[in-house]
């Protein structure tokens, strides 16, 4: 655990990519193989189960730190991280435990079979034998996620340097469902055959945005200058659903989401067609709600995501289908090396041979002769229930991760309104003890009605200025939330708007974020609820 705690600390202490890779390599070179796999699992989002309820952990930590519960809560708001708060509030310990990361995780897992009293004793003892940094990391294992500013790519790069295996192959080998208890380091570095694990998805190829925000709008000419001849590109609608990889191997089917969650059971409508696919087929596409042959907005699909049981009603109200746009494996062969056009031809052939045209759809190609023409077609995106247009170089292979060059997304400009900030709350992590989470309101007559929360979109310098304003213009405090003097106006961008019975304003926005700070606008000139409701299109 000392090595793992030091790894954490060292990674925190540099912002340089090369330095981070060096630190990761040092860690890999110095710990036992089982620790390597545990670290790999943690850094790629595979956290052990939580055997102890976090409220209990919190309560025991309050006891151990000997302060009133309210002061613990206040401290948490200052620190912005529960694991860190607990480690800071307990008495310093010299840290005389020499257990490895693997041993600690085994102990944590063993708590599942213990009684509550036994768990408490174990936890208090454990805290006492760890120093502050170890205790922080240990608490992270127990309670939180591991967001530490190290991407999967960096971990893979370090591992590639150590093992001599190429990064794309390694990325592939750590995809899908595995736990460090059943996947050894030896297997990881020796394995050569992708079919060894029939459920394993390929790493997703992700498109790069052509324009980031409405402010940096790109014209057809800009796009032409950047991408060259229109004829070298394939264009499709950018569908607004759940990106998924669908696998049929060895008579079994698997549906993976982009977040590497196995979601096979969530989409029973897709099972018949997947079962009908030949063995050794992997498809990449989007899952959407469909009705009467038309895609429905993402909000309809949203109603069934996250449900444990798919009731008959949900299946009737929000039936899904998939729009497939790529084929990664065919007849048991990894065909990612083939060109976009070649893979497309295989996909079309595959779909024609299967009799499920309503659930197994193919993303139709948009015909265009010039970038100007495509720019005009892009204007129809909203009517198509699409987010914009995808551009894929016809000669491109299917690559790993988000990279510039061959796949681009040209999204439509977000919808936007000018709104007044009325509440603020402190952020977490890097934004701890700074007011960074804001609630925005629009006018309803002479009242300001809150309609959206947004956390992102401002620069660090702007956040500091807003924080400075909030601390001097607080009207009331409700727990961690402050009511702020309505004065600052921001342009809020969002991807979609829907009716909502859960919100006071009667509407809910999709992906609200701050586009810019409107220093030029007085609060009286912010938009109205009526103008927002007009965007509902009803």
């Amino acid at each position: 655990m000392k090595a793992f705690a030091q790894l954490f600390l060292s990674l925190d202490e540099t912002n340089k990519t090369n330095e981070k890779v060096k630190i990761l390599k040092e860690y890999f070179s110095n710990v036992p193989d089982t620790d390597k796999m545990h670290m790999l699992a943690l850094f790629t989002g595979r956290r052990p189960k939580r055997p102890i309820n976090s409220t209990l952990i919190r309560n025991w930590a309050i006891e151990a730190s000997n302060i009133p519960a309210w002061l613990f809560e206040e401290s948490y708001h200052v620190v912005g991280d529960l694991a860190e708060t607990m480690s800071l509030l307990m008495l310093e310990s010299p840290g005389n435990s020499s257990k490895t990361l693997t041993e600690w995780i085994a102990e944590i897992n063993a708590q599942a079979a213990r009684t509550e009293d036994e768990r408490k004793l174990w936890l208090i003892d454990s805290w006492a034998m760890l120093d502050r940094q170890e205790r922080f990391v240990f608490n992270k294992l127990l309670t939180g996620s591991f967001r530490i500013g190290v991407s999967n790519n960096l971990v893979v790069k370090a591992l590639a340097d150590i093992t001599g295996i190429e990064a794309p192959a390694l990325t592939h080998r750590i995809m899908g469902s595995w736990m460090p208890e059943d996947y050894t380091y030896e297997q990881l570095i020796q394995e050569q055959n992708a079919a060894d694990n029939i459920s394993r998805p390929y790493p997703f190829f992700l498109a790069y945005p052509i324009q980031e925000t409405s402010e940096k709008r790109k014209s057809a000419e800009d796009v032409g200058n950047a991408l060259g001849e229109a004829g070298e590109w394939q264009a499709e609608w950018k569908w607004d659903g759940i990106r998924a990889q669908m696998i049929k191997r060895g008579g079994q089917i698997f549906i993976w989401s982009r977040g590497e969650d196995l979601a096979t059971e969530k989409f029973p409508e897709l099972h018949p067609f997947l079962n009908a696919l030949p063995d050794g087929t992997v498809l990449d596409g989007e899952i959407l709600s469909f009705q009467n042959n038309l895609p429905m907005s993402f909000s309809v699909l949203q109603t069934r995501i996250g449900r444990k049981n798919l009731s008959k009603k949900i299946l009737t109200d929000s039936p899904v289908a998939t729009i497939v746009y790529d084929c990664l494996e065919y007849a048991g062969e990894d065909i990612r090396y083939k060109t976009q056009s070649e893979r497309r031809a295989i996909l079309e052939k595959l779909q024609a041979a299967i009799e499920f045209p309503e659930v197994f759809r193919i993303s139709s190609l948009i015909k265009f002769d010039s970038w100007e023409e495509l720019e005009t077609i892009r204007e129809q995106s909203r009517a198509m229930i699409a987010e914009g247009i995808m551009l894929k170089r016809k000669s491109a292979t299917y690559q790993v991760g988000r990279r510039r060059g061959d796949w681009w997304k040209w999204k439509i400009d977000p919808l936007s309104v000018d709104a007044v900030m009325i509440y603020a709350q402190k952020g977490h992590g890097r934004r701890a003890d700074l007011y960074t989470d804001y609630t925005f309101a629009v006018w309803d007559g002479d009242k300001l009605v809150p309609f959206a929360k947004a956390y992102s979109g401002l620069t660090d310098a702007e956040i500091n200025k807003v924080d400075y304003f909030i601390k001097r213009n607080t009207l009331e405090k409700f727990g961690p939330v402050r009511t702020v003097k309505p004065e600052l106006v921001f342009e809020i961008g969002f991807e979609g708007i829907n009716k909502s019975t859960r919100h006071k304003s009667g509407i809910a926005l999709r992906f609200p974020r701050i586009l810019r700070w409107r220093h030029d606008k007085p609060k009286e000139e912010a938009d109205t609820l009526e103008s927002l409701k007009d965007l509902l299109g009803e």
């Binding site: 730190s65 991280d81 200025k465 924080d467």
Partner: protein, 367 residues
């Protein structure tokens, strides 16, 4: 009820009987100053009273002011009110102000720390009836390690950088932290270089008779190769400026109490964060307040709301008061320095003496 000896006004802490203010932020006739930091020693008062060791720094920062200075323990009487100073341990020359009239004693802490930093006269608890205290770090998550441990880390980091051919830049504000760093560096490793605003403060202190380790002011002629073998002490406002970048590749360390929190540390994007503060930590504050034996404690800046509530729960009579001093939790994020200020710092020959070097004020400020 008789008027209290000290009251909180919109100009600062006021003594009506003695007709003077303590650390006022608007122009007044008579100002008693706890220490020379910009949020305590404002410009524009007619008469200033401060400690001897604040003399040269105040003259350097505030120009030609009418300043009288006294020693710790020396008593000045004004209209029957006895004013005296006691060490606050915050920075060189920092003082707690003791005010007594007809047997009633008030003490204004200014900013203070209870640990001995080896360069400021160590904090001395003063018995009083009413204690006006700061609480910049008045949350239990703040707990400082012994200074020696921190400087072992600093010196090891510096040595490591020299071995790797990387320049070392250590950041701390110019009055206090800079000298504390300077006096605790292992000068066998290399030479100590200083940014202009820090060297100006060092020179003021040397004029005041303070003996500091030798330093080398960085000028346009400084050799990059030589500087790389040493360590540069720079103010927070120089972080990320072209002035600092020209020493690249460098590793930059930030010295502040705020480094205790991972989020704050990551926000600063320092290569190394050293948890080092010139303010008392949680235990320091509670023990200092306890040692005064006061009947009532007033909290001026920091996490005042939570700290006041806690003190009341453990049996003190505590009150929150509003002032304009530095690191008030409500007031801790200063806006970025203006481009002009930055330009001046790029060109150390034209530095402005007031670079806003408060620990509290730079929190979240310069990133």
């Amino acid at each position: 009820m008789a008027k209290p000896l000290l009251e909180f006004t919109d100009r600062g802490i006021y003594c009506e009987q003695g007709k003077f203010y303590i650390d006022p932020w608007k122009p007044v006739d008579d100002a008693v100053i706890t220490h020379a930091h910009a949020d305590h020693a404002y410009f524009g008062h007619k008469n200033y009273l401060a400690h001897h060791l604040s003399r040269e720094v105040m003259l350097y920062r505030l120009g030609d002011i009418n300043l009288r200075t006294i020693e710790y323990g020396e008593i000045v009487t004004k209209n029957g009110v006895q004013i005296s100073m006691f060490p606050a341990g915050h920075v060189i020359g920092s003082a707690q102000i003791r005010v007594e009239y007809k047997g009633v004693v008030w003490v204004v802490s200014g900013d203070y720390k209870t640990d001995d930093d080896g360069i400021s006269t160590p904090f001395e608890p003063v018995k009083c009836h009413h204690f006006i205290s700061e609480c910049t770090f008045g949350m239990p998550v703040y707990s400082w390690k012994p200074q020696a441990e921190i400087f072992t880390e600093v010196n090891n980091w510096w040595r490591h950088n020299v071995e790797n051919g990387v320049a070392t830049v250590i950041v701390g504000y110019s009055l206090g932290k800079a000298q504390r760093i300077l006096q605790n560096l292992d000068v066998d490793i290399g030479k100590v270089y200083t940014h202009g605003v820090i060297e100006n403060t060092n020179e003021a202190l040397r004029r005041n008779g303070v003996i500091l380790n030798p330093t080398h002011r960085i000028t346009a002629e400084s050799s990059k190769e030589e500087v790389r073998k040493g360590i540069i002490i720079a103010p927070p406002s120089s972080v990320g400026t072209p002035w600092m970048r020209k020493f690249g590749p460098y590793s930059f360390g930030y010295c502040s109490g705020w480094m205790a929190i991972r989020g704050a540390k990551r926000r600063r994007a320092a290569d190394r964060g050293f948890i080092m503060s010139d303010h008392a930590d949680w235990n320091g504050l509670v023990s200092a307040i306890d040692a005064t034996g006061c009947e009532c404690v007033y909290l001026t800046h920091g996490y005042t709301a939570s700290f006041t509530r806690y003190l009341n729960e453990i049996g003190f009579n505590a009150r929150e008061v509003h002032t304009l001093y530095g690191g008030e939790e409500e007031d801790d994020a200063s806006p970025q320095p203006s481009p002009k200020e930055r330009e001046q710092e790029d060109n150390p020959s034209e530095v402005s003496p007031n670079e806003g070097d408060l620990e509290g004020a730079t929190k979240g400020g310069i990133i």
